[in-house]
């Protein structure tokens, strides 16, 4: 009964979100689109980093890979074929990065991811200048803002579904053990590198496809725009602000930061960078479990009965003892 209710509510919510393009102004739609984009990126990031606790700084690399793949192929292939190619390339790059770095230690993975988007940018700039003699590409396709939004919404539903399934699967359990204690995970017979690489690929593919879907939104793309390091940064900060213990945690980080970026990013881009950095450090120092942690702490306080004065507690206990055994009505 409860499950059915939850499903109905979820279906209504998704339907309402899907109707957004016909209900709000162009500006509102742009806002929602940004929100969806970062929501998928952040939940995908949390799928990998929240469970394994490996900080991934490579979001921009995968996002850029998706976006620039579409930019390069859009003149020769239909758009869905472009998405498919992006998906394939994202899988390939995630497999390579994962297989090379995740076998050894978290440190190598962080370093590799940290420079990956810079590397991709450098390689593409070199390629475009020397081989194709272009700098930047136009992405003109009949794929308007509404279409982009609906696709992102689909991806959001999918990424939440994957996250939900993961919590109930053997892989999710294995990842939880790895995040807690890698040595113990190995002792328990978990194939640690395989589990880590698998979830890294899943998470990265989502990021790549988001990049691909977002490509038409830019209209004109250069490697510098596609591989913007701010994306990696923003996603980590959103995930940490929200907290990753719950699947819905990232939501609490994405919404406030998107609101903030709407106000600041275009008009004062450098102030935005400084401010984000400060917010980020505040989270690391004072909110290690994110807003979710705060909310749960508050809920926990509500659920626990307040401490009763001395004497009253004993009285309550004795009353309760006398009531035991008496019928309390239907359950």
């Amino acid at each position: 009964m409860r499950v059915a209710l939850v499903l109905v509510v979820l279906a209504l919510l998704i339907a309402a979100l899907a109707a957004v393009p016909w209900l709000v102004s162009d500006y509102g739609l742009g806002f929602m689109l940004n929100l969806m984009c970062y929501l998928v990126l952040t939940v995908a990031w949390a799928l990998f980093s929240g469970t394994t606790r490996y900080v991934s700084l490579a979001t921009a690399a995968f996002f850029g890979l998706g976006a620039y793949t579409v930019a390069m192929l859009i003149k020769v292939l239909p758009i869905y074929a472009c998405f498919a190619v992006a998906l394939g390339l994202g899988t390939l790059m995630a497999l390579l990065v994962g297989l090379v770095t995740l076998r050894i230690s978290g440190m190598f993975f962080v370093i590799f991811g940290f420079g990956l988007s810079e590397l991709m940018r450098e390689l593409l700039v070199w390629w475009e200048i020397n081989k194709t003699h272009t700098m930047g590409r136009y992405v003109f396709v009949p794929f308007d803002t509404t279409m982009i939004y609906e696709h992102l919404l689909g991806l959001a539903v999918l990424v939440f579904a994957v996250g939900w399934w993961l919590k109930r699967s053997r892989l999710g359990l294995a990842l939880l053990v790895i995040g807690d204690d890698e040595t113990m995970a190995r002792q328990a017979g978990i194939n640690v590198p395989l589990a880590k690489v698998l979830i890294f690929v899943v998470s990265s593919v989502f990021m790549t496809v988001v990049g691909a879907v977002m490509a038409p939104r830019f209209g004109y793309l250069t490697p510098n725009v596609a591989f913007n390091p701010m994306i990696s940064f923003t996603v980590v900060i959103m995930a940490l602000l929200g907290g990753m213990q719950r699947l819905w945690g990232p939501l609490l980080g994405v919404i406030p930061l998107i609101l903030l970026s709407e106000q600041l990013q275009v008009r004062f881009p450098f102030w935005y960078s400084v401010l984000l950095g400060v917010v980020f450090m505040v989270i690391v120092y004072f909110l290690p479990r994110g807003v979710t942690g705060l909310v749960e702490h508050a809920l926990g306080l509500l659920r626990e009965p307040a401490a009763l004065p001395r004497g009253v507690a004993e009285l309550v206990a004795s009353v309760r003892a006398r009531l035991v055994g008496q019928p309390t009505g239907g359950s």
């Binding site: 700084l57 440190m107 370093i111 960078s273 950095g277 980020f280 120092y285």
Partner: protein
């Protein structure tokens, strides 16, 4: 340009990378702080040299008398104020690594954004000793040769400090055996702060030297952090001599790449070397496999 000249040019750049990597190694190997904002201090020192030269015609090498102590003090403060709380709350070394990566990642964007605000994101360059000199029958730009000379002096100074002084011995002990070092009475907090600050001072020297012959802007920090990371991983964490050799190796490899393929691919070279190290010798070129 002959191949020998290319290799020698690479050695000159490599000397600078070695210096940058030794500084990072002091911060990571001794103080255990994984500082992703490391390159931002290089960028800050480069801007300091640029403004002193353009506004007051102060020679960049002399200007280091001001900028290096300031960076030393700033890094000491970063350790005492920002990093120490993380060190104290971390239960394991992995915890500390995770926390410092995140905190310094935030610091990176604060410093980069502040530099963009203050100096605009434009590329900067100034003309300093941009004349050819002849060394051993080869021709180089004078500013590069000077940079190499200063890097050698700074490297020698830090090597003497590490091997000939009590403080240096304490730092090496902390790098190799943190618990043992504490047991024999090394003040880990003070030594870590000192090592962190010394690392910052080295990167300030490097930043000043870089500014004399390369174009730079507020966003260059990441690239140098990345190269420092790669060199440290190649040379081995905590191994200063390893960092020196690996730095020179990276410089030569980059130089060969720009001679044979293209000069726009220097980061790709660093990545390529990094990949080889990862696949073949994950504990560094000179570490026990």
């Amino acid at each position: 340009m002959s191949l020998i000249e290319v290799v020698l040019g690479g050695v000159i750049t490599g000397g600078l990378y070695a210096l940058i990597a030794v500084g990072f190694n002091l911060q990571y190997g001794v103080a255990r702080i994984f500082n992703l904002a490391y390159g931002e201090f290089l960028m800050a020192a480069a801007f300091a040299a640029f403004w002193m030269f353009t506004l007051a015609h102060i020679d960049p090498i002399l200007g280091m008398l001001a900028s290096v102590p300031v960076t030393f003090a700033a890094n000491w403060l970063v350790y005492r104020v920002l990093m120490l709380p993380l060190v104290q709350r971390a239960r394991t070394r992995d915890d500390l690594e995770g926390d410092t990566i995140l905190a310094t990642f935030g610091l990176l964007f604060v410093l980069k954004g502040a530099a963009q605000l203050a100096f605009s994101p434009d590329n900067r360059f100034y003309d300093y000793l941009n004349v050819p000199v002849h060394v051993l029958g080869f021709t180089f730009a004078a500013n590069r040769v000077l940079a190499f000379g200063v890097a050698c002096v700074a490297g020698l100074a830090i090597w003497l400090f590490l091997t000939r002084t009590r403080y240096g011995a304490a730092m090496r002990a902390l790098a190799i055996e943190p618990t043992g070092a504490r047991l024999v009475g090394v003040d880990a907090t003070a030594m870590s702060a000192l090592a962190f600050a010394a690392g910052g001072a080295l990167v300030a020297v490097a930043g000043t030297l870089v500014s004399t012959f390369l174009t730079f802007n507020p966003a260059v920090g990441v690239e140098f952090t990345m190269k420092a990371l790669v060199v440290v991983m190649m040379g081995g964490i905590g191994n200063m001599v390893g960092s020196l050799l690996a730095g020179v190796l990276l410089g030569v490899a980059e130089s060969l790449c720009s001679y044979l393929i293209d000069s726009g691919l220097t980061l790709a070279v660093a990545y390529f070397l990094f990949l080889i190290v990862l696949l073949v010798r994950p504990r560094g070129l000179f570490g026990t496999p």
